[in-house]
């Protein structure tokens, strides 16, 4: 067995594509890196949040007087302290529902919509007093029947979370009566009825997936100081400081310039720290107490009070010809939004069939509110669920047609120019190259070695994002540069962005000093998410570096008293065309302050052309027929990275995504009691895979350069979580003969399938 990671490179560069040490490495391995919980401001108070024990309840009253009277308590806040409480429906107009939902998820006003919903918060001299004060808050609840399953929530007569939630249908009709369906969408291409009529084989199945959590190690935290002059300073763990700034300002009804967010180091996010929960509440506590306040969540609060990925129900139907071509495909998806609208069902719908060239196709999606925490982004939001259904139906088509699952996928693969069901046309993409790498891989060519084993294959898609990024590059007199960025570094992006700047400037990677700064210190930068950071912030770094190059050329021209167009910049050397005059970058840097002043390059951009990501995973499993337990024997993940700027971190992303997908597939789920309470809100019983549950995840980086980026980069962080669910289900089917259509595929569910003959 070969287990080495492979990189199939198209183009080689000097710095891009190498594996330098990360700039934040020393601080992190020595424990010096500053996370939110490490922050200790002078006079700091400690806050805690009171949360609803009920999944669905009307809040009749909240009495905080006893808590306020407890010695050591400095402030208590409830929804009555949010601006929403003092704004009328008329004043808010069309913005009423949006603003109510936004405010209510920070502190519930009239209803608790999930167990763990924040009701009140306390700041006290220490955390023990704060906890004691929570117990003194009297909340009078009228407990209501909860609805936690997406299909149950869509039924007539289901308990309604919101009294006035109506949605607009595909035809533009507004639903007559309120329901839990927050939105509905439909896309079609070609003639699906004709496509199914032309099919030789048709497979149709229903699937469900469970609510799963991102499982970041570091719980949410926030420290806020609402200063006497009105300035609000916040330090927190977030994937997007500017998003926290904008929404905090919105919910508190202050100007964005009055809020400064400092992103601390982040202990994992996976999309879950795009959402946030504590910052405005902590700011309100600080204003009331007149002192800085720090609030930390515990693990149970993270599970019960922060966004999981949505549970889902899907129906998938696909037809294919004997020639092995897909003739028609349709999918219906219903996603749990949690307590407020906004599941990623649209993304699920647009990713569902993205790997397949379809003449005919239809996708329909429902966004449905249920009594669970509001869902948050989780790595390729919506795509893993859809792939769990589609990739199993494809597997079954292959079985019925008797064709190899990789060959079938190659035979139907999208390429440059293929049009998706919802409209967009693909630019240059690398799905075919990934499938070919799978077919040629030692793993795929090695037979299984024993009984009760199976091999599964699945593909996955993620569109990736562009969005705003800003970078400033300042040249230091010693020839190093400070690279100032607003992208929080979750997965090694300081390194991957610095590498692109170094490549562009033609200087050493070690001479780039990247720093992630607060929202007052850099231009607008969107979240670290959507697999956009190395792509878009990297591009901003390239443009800022180009700006530096231009200015160094102009400076050299002015020193030499020659026209600037006679000076060129080549690999870190500024040279007159005569080749008699030249400066190295360091030479010129030393002279900047005596020849006209310092140089700062700057760039802000909102790029398109992000290029899409595809992955193909191959997994071997063995299922214990006595216990139903699935062991992962071998796992290979293949992915088009466009150009892997730092291959080690790309491999880390691929491995991490695959492992999280394995968790979804085999064990992870929110397990609810009868009253909608999560029963397994700890890492003991919410079973994420440990290193002992996994083989080494082998990777193959395929490089099909993205024409939409100077170095061909595609985002890599999300697509690796898409294929594992179905790949494992397909492998389990081969090992057991049981088609597992509900996640997770626990040992118990495999035994049940055996007993039920399913």
């Amino acid at each position: 067995m070969t287990t080495a990671n492979q990189v199939l490179s198209e183009v080689e560069y000097d710095v891009v594509g190498k594996r330098p040490v990360r700039p934040d490495g020393v601080d992190k391995v020595t424990g010096r890196a500053q996370y939110g919980a490490d922050l200790n401001l002078t006079g700091l108070l400690h806050g805690r949040v009171l949360r609803s024990p009920h999944a669905h309840a009307r809040i009749k009253s909240v009495d905080v007087s006893k808590a306020e009277a407890l010695p050591g308590v400095r402030a208590v806040v409830t929804a009555a302290d949010l601006p929403f409480a003092s704004l009328s429906k008329d004043e808010l107009g069309n913005d009423y529902n949006r603003f109510k939902f936004l405010s209510d998820n920070f502190l519930a006003s009239n209803k608790a919509l999930y167990r763990g919903h924040a009701i009140a918060a306390v700041a006290a001299d220490n955390a023990h007093v704060a906890e004691a004060a929570l117990a003194l808050i009297d909340v009078d609840y009228e407990v209501l029947e909860p609805v936690i399953d997406v299909r149950a929530a869509m039924q007539d007569g289901a308990p309604l979370l919101h009294d006035d939630l109506v949605h607009t249908s595909a035809m533009g009709e507004v639903s007559e009566k309120p329901s839990n369906v927050a939105s509905y969408m439909k896309f079609e291409k070609g003639d699906n009825a004709a496509g199914f009529a032309a099919a030789d084989v048709i497979v149709e199945r229903e699937f469900t997936t469970a609510s799963v959590h991102q499982g970041y190690i570091e719980p949410h935290n926030a420290t806020a100081h609402w200063r006497a002059d009105g300035q609000i300073n916040v330090w927190c763990s977030t994937q997007g400081a500017f998003v926290v700034r904008n929404i905090t300002a919105d919910v508190l009804r202050v100007d964005v310039s009055e809020v400064r967010i400092t992103p601390m180091e982040i202990g994992g996010g996976f999309g879950g720290k795009v959402a946030f929960y504590l910052e405005p509440v902590t700011a309100l506590l600080s204003r009331k107490a007149g002192a800085p306040v720090k609030v930390l969540m515990g693990r149970t609060e993270v599970f019960e009070g922060s966004g999981p990925a949505p549970g889902s129900w899907m129906r998938v139907k696909m037809g294919a010809s004997r020639a092995g071509k897909i003739t028609a495909a349709e999918i219906e998806l219903a996603f749990e939004a949690g307590a407020y609208p906004g599941s990623p069902v649209m993304q699920g719908a647009t990713c569902a069939f993205a790997c397949y060239e379809l003449g005919n196709g239809a996708v329909e999606g429902y966004d449905v509110v249920v009594n669970k925490p509001k869902t948050a982004a989780y790595r390729a939001p919506g795509s893993p669920q859809a792939a769990f259904g589609v990739e199993q139906v494809v597997d079954e088509l292959c079985q019925q047609l008797g064709v190899d699952p990789v060959e079938f996928r190659l035979n139907n693969a999208v390429k440059e120019g293929s049009r998706k069901v919802e409209g967009p046309v693909f630019q240059k993409i690398g799905l075919v190259e990934c499938l070919e790498a799978a077919r040629n891989h030692d793993h795929y060519r090695t037979p299984l070695s024993g009984p009760n084993q199976g091999r599964g294959v699945a593909s996955g898609f993620w569109m990736n994002r562009g969005f705003h990024s800003s970078v400033n590059i300042t040249v230091n007199p010693d020839g190093t540069v400070n690279l100032i960025e607003g992208s929080v570094d979750i997965g090694g992006s300081r390194a991957s962005i610095a590498q692109q700047a170094a490549e562009t400037l033609g200087i050493a990677y070690e001479d780039i000093k990247p720093q992630v700064v607060d929202t007052d210190s850099i231009g607008f930068t969107m979240v670290t998410g959507g697999s956009r950071t190395t792509f878009a912030t990297g591009w901003a770094a390239i443009l800022a570096a180009e700006d530096v190059k231009t200015q160094t050329v102009e400076r050299a021209a002015s020193i030499w008293e020659v026209p600037a167009d006679e000076v060129e910049y080549d690999s870190g050397v500024i040279r007159h065309k005569s080749e008699e005059l030249s400066f190295t970058f360091k030479d010129l840097a030393r002279q900047l302050y005596t020849t006209g002043g310092g140089i700062t390059g700057t760039a802000s951009l909102d790029p398109t052309g992000e290029g899409n990501s595809f992955g193909v995973h191959v997994v071997d499993v063995e299922v214990d027929p006595d216990t139903g337990k699935t062991e992962i024997l071998r796992y290979t993940a293949i992915q088009d990275a466009g150009k892997a700027v730092h291959p080690s971190y790309v491999e880390g992303q691929i491995q991490g995504g695959a492992v999280q997908g394995i968790g979804w597939a085999l064990n992870e789920e929110y397990y609810f009691g009868d009253n909608g309470q999560m029963m397994n809100s700890s890492f003991l019983d919410y079973r994420m895979p440990t290193s002992l549950d996994l083989p080494m995840i082998d990777t193959v980086i395929v490089e099909v350069a993205n024409p939409g980026h100077p170095y061909g980069v595609r985002g890599v962080g999300e697509v690796p979580i898409v294929p594992p669910l179905a790949a494992i289900a397909n492998a389990v089917e081969q090992a057991t003969g049981k088609r597992m259509t509900n996640l997770p595929i626990t040992p118990g569910s495999v035994l049940e399938a055996e007993w039920n003959g399913g």
Binding site: H128, T627, L684, D685, R687, T690, L692, G748, L751
Partner: protein, 291 residues
Amino acid sequence: MRAIDYQAPTSLSEAVSIMAANGDRARPLAGGTDVLVQLRGGRREADVVVDTKKIPELNTLNLGDNGLQLGAAVPCYKIYGDSAVAAAYPGLIDAASMIGSIQIQGRATVGGNLCNAAPSGDTIPPVITLGGEAHINGPNGWRTMPAEDFCTGPGRNALQDGELLVAIQLPAPAANSGTAYLRFIPRNEMDIAVAGVSSTVTLDASGQTIQSARIALASVGPTPILATAAGDSLAGKAVSDEAIEEAGRLASEAATPITDMRGTIRQRHHLVAVLTRRTLNIAIRRARGEE
């Protein structure tokens, strides 16, 4: 978490007097891997925790002709780190080396596992099948009881106010005997048993006939269960798949599981039969000196 008094007595008599003075408001502390988590999580309350790690009688690990005297505060790593103990009681080592994680095993104790009385306590079934006895000291002096009688309900044990579990006494292993413990968990470590089974068998000198057997179960009832009928069914029988299968069936019958987030009733009955077969086969091989 509110403030709690911490006491670390250095003698058994001092410990018992602190325990007696505080009644049900005192909790003994050995490794603390359960009690500290419970106190912090609000699942137990106490005014005083009595650290037992400085009391000599609770720290003995003494292997002799009469078997093993295992102090209630001896951490798991010391048990499996003692090669003579490990050789004599491989079934106990199965359990002691799978609790929690390496880090947890550095603190967690068999005595604490027994006192915590979780239905899933991994070391309890092998202590039971090995014929372990609990040695208890309290205001009224010493008393002894079989390990299978010690747990009285989930999180409840037979200790009276003021009493401490001092040691567990395991008899010397009989000739041609073997023990094995297995649990089923969905992951491979860091998990709580969905079901667990310990089997102890004693063979005749030929290694072909079972003289006696004891089978005990975890996580399939309110307490660990000694499946007497299952063990007795093997007495006098030749080693055979049929006899082992029948013992598995009887062990499954002895289980009284519930359905919860870790497993269903049917799954747990099924797993008891599977694990009984597997542990009996390992125990037989160990009795024969084959592993």
